[in-house]
């Protein structure tokens, strides 16, 4: 058991390198889209009980705007951009060049703008990972959902919990340089993805 822990610690370094490469590319894609400098405030990589993943975005009942994608190919997993509604509207303002209006729903136009944000962030992330590992990854079309955090995060968690009780989560907090909007980009790989990157790192 002790041996396993030691091995995991070493592998986490390689995993962290890989994730940071992906995140840097993803944030640069997002930055180009909103035409603002974006600072990564923190990147945390942890393996936590499922409940704690939902607490990262404010708890199960919190209303969030989630932009969700999963990916398939040589590795599988889930990507989520999670924002408080007011942040989502601020980001929309940057993309669409309009003053954000806070409401409880999104127009079709706003939905597709957020969906495009998911496309860009997701594909920039996946391209960096795929190039590094020499594999092919396919993103799903993004889903844009306003609802309780628990219900939205449950999409990814249900699949991961089929295999384990804990979830590997790579959680990135970012802010635009003018501090007008901050958000979260979360990566939840399936176990097979973590294994694959270990093999590749050897």
């Amino acid at each position: 058991m002790i041996q396993d822990v030691a091995k995991t610690a070493i592998d986490l370094n390689a995993w962290e390198e890989l994730m940071k490469k992906g995140i840097t590319n993803a944030i640069s894609g997002l930055s180009q889209m909103v035409q603002k400098k974006i600072t990564v405030d923190s990147v945390s990589i942890s393996r936590v009980p499922a409940k704690e993943v939902i607490d990262l975005v404010g708890g199960p009942e919190t209303l969030i705007v989630g932009i969700y994608l999963n990916f398939s190919g040589a590795a599988t997993g889930h990507l989520m951009l999670a924002h408080r509604p007011e942040v989502a509207y601020a980001l929309l303002g940057m993309i669409l060049g309009e003053e954000p209006v806070k409401r409880d729903d999104l127009s079709d136009y706003e939905q597709s703008a957020l969906s495009e944000m998911g496309n860009i962030t997701g594909s920039f992330f996946l391209n960096a990972i795929a190039d590094t590992l020499g594999i092919t990854l396919y993103p799903s079309p993004p889903a844009v959902i306003i609802d309780m955090a628990g219900a939205i995060m449950g999409i990814a968690l249900a699949e991961i919990l089929q295999e384990s009780d804990e979830v590997m989560v790579v959680d990135t907090a970012f802010t635009t340089d003018d501090q007008s909007a901050g958000g979260r980009f979360m990566i939840m790989p399936n176990e097979s993805f973590v294994q694959l990157s270990r093999q590749q790192a050897r």
């Binding site: 199960p60 009942e61 969700y68 889903a143 306003i146 309780m148 628990g150 219900a151 449950g154 919990l161």
Partner: protein
């Protein structure tokens, strides 16, 4: 009589809570495809809630999250209630959740976990000889389910603050 203060107990993913504390309120927050199962014995005044995540386990027992799978979680919840003094024949069962949060997923397909959870909960209840008395299920929205032990009332709330008493 002294005034009592409700004690909110959050039942997380895969958890089971059984209580006979009259001030307790058992709550499953943020249900999407998950199904909350509420069971109440109105005579013994014992209540339970289970937060089911998936229909069936592929492999072995799971002590950490006892209600993760419907096929194990439902019988375990009933067993725990009986141990606490509840009688199976008196149990009032109500369920909420089982939504399809992703529009791209075909209804009834293997990826429609909400629908599969609902089916698995029904099957487990049938096996246990119990019927579901009320439900607020399906749709494409999140829910919370409350069970007030003092009254046995179960209440569903959606993200738009829509309230349904079951």
């Amino acid at each position: 009589m002294t005034a009592s203060i409700d004690v909110n107990i959050s039942v997380g993913l895969g958890e089971i809570h059984v209580t006979r504390d009259p001030d307790a309120v058992l709550i499953c927050y943020g249900l999407g495809s998950c199904v909350a199962v509420s069971a109440f014995d109105p005579v013994a005044r014992i209540g339970a809630m289970a937060h089911i995540v998936l229909p069936a386990s592929n492999n072995g027992a799971n002590a950490m999250l006892p209600a993760k799978f419907a096929d194990r979680g439902i019988p375990l919840t009933i067993e725990k209630m009986e141990k606490a003094g509840a009688q199976r024949s008196r149990l009032v069962i109500k369920i909420a959740g089982g939504a399809k949060m992703l529009h791209g997923v075909k209804a009834g397909s293997i990826l429609d976990i909400g629908e599969r959870n609902i089916a698995a909960v029904n099957e487990a209840m049938q096996k246990a000889g119990l019927e579901i008395h009320a439900q607020d299920i399906r749709g494409d929205w999140g829910r919370c389910l409350w069970l007030y032990i003092a009254s046995g009332l179960t209440r569903v709330k959606t993200a738009e603050q829509r309230i349904i008493d079951l």
